[in-house]
Every structure is written in C-alpha cells, then in structure tokens.
Symmetry: C2
Subunit: 134 residues, 2 copies
Amino acid sequence: MIAGTEWIVDANGCRPEALQDLGLLKAVFRRVVTDLQLQVVDEILWHQFPPPGGLTGMALLSESHLTCHTYPEFGLATINLYCCRSRPEWPWAECLRDFLGAKAVTVHAIERHAATPDLPSLRHSLQFALAKES
Amino acid sequence: MIAGTEWIVDANGCRPEALQDLGLLKAVFRRVVTDLQLQVVDEILWHQFPPPGGLTGMALLSESHLTCHTYPEFGLATINLYCCRSRPEWPWAECLRDFLGAKAVTVHAIERHAATPDLPSLRHSLQFALAKES
C-alpha cells in the first residue's frame, strides 16, 4: 500500500541573488501550497544562513511536509514535498524558472510504502532543461 | 557535483502505540542527531495529530533537515534525513526496531546534485527484514 509520494526537486542554474531572497522563496512556497491545496500547520520555519550562505524553509503540512534549501554558491535550490494524499503532477520546472531563474530541474517522485514494496519505489525521474547551455 | 545525500527511510510493522509516543520519537531524533553529529538550528517542530493520527517532527539542521511522520493505522514511520555534508551510513533498521518495534525497514539513499547528473541519482536502496513474518 502506498502511503504517499515524495517529490525531490533539484533546481540548478538559479540566480544566486534569488537564492538569498527570503521574499522570493516565500512566494515559491505560497505558490506550491495554493496550487496543490495543501494545509500548513503552524508557522513556516525559515532560517537565513550568514552570507554567502543560503536559506532554509520548512513547512509542516497536514499532508506531511514541504522543505527548501538554497545554495547560492552552486546556483542550487533543493526542494522536497512529501504528500500522504494523492496530488496531481505539478510544473516544478516552470515555477522554479520563473521565480529563481532555474536552467535545469530534476524531479524524482518516490512512493512511500506501508508494507515492504515488491517493486522499486522510484516512480519516475525527470529532467527539464529550461535554457540552452552557453 | 554532489550537494549532499538524502536518506529516505520507511519503517513498517512498528507498534502503533510507539508511533503516538512523543517521548519515543524525540528519543529517535536525539539518537540520530547525536550519532551523526548534526547541528539543530532553533527548536524542533512537533505536531501531534488528533487520535488515531500520528506525529510529525521537523528539525532544521545546519546540515539541512530531519523529518519524521508516523501513521499508527499502518504501523508506519517515514523519516527523511538530508545532509549536505558527507555522513557515514547509519543503522536505521536497528534503531527503529529498538525504539519503535519496526519489523521491516527500507532505506533509500539519494544524491542531490549541483548540475544535472549524468547518472541516476539513486545511490542505493536497501531493505532490512528484522523479524520473521508470522
């Protein structure tokens, strides 16, 4: 039995200044929460690491969790969404391009299992190239 | 370039009452944090869902995050540890057997990437059966 899906999203080629912009990261969270009709429990936890560090955001959801870590030095944002209820696929790549300037986004969807699975639980792994490499 | 490893751990066959015991779940977090020398930033967020619901815990780490969700109705605990620094493998199965009575534990280790990977990023996937099925 499947006890939810975890989306593991790595966004590369992001603008370093976007990855240090708390307002932008909050906007990404709002977009995900609104579009996927998630319920945030309590306050969302945010932490800004000293420059040149990035940001961490963690939302405890009634559906499980949403987290984000940014690495301005690598142009990288890593996001997890774990949903114990079924959710439609969502345009991670386009959203992260629009908000953070991402040029390549990898999305893994992994099923979490109640009872040991007989099948590999990597549901799919997708890569999106959003702009030509220079 | 690898920007850390995520361990996705599903523990099945746990004692339902253990999965509703906040003290036990806090002890699991303490064990992970201490053994792997992680640094917790701020307070750990805990939420107890109304019975027969389970517990959620989220720790913001300077190394990324540690989360846990429990599903007493399925005997299931789902844990994520995301570490942007290298960490040794750790005896998840034995720990979750000892604390929660887990009978089968699945551990996926996934590498998070700065720059789109050429190789599949599922590093390994292990299953541990801790007790014979009755």
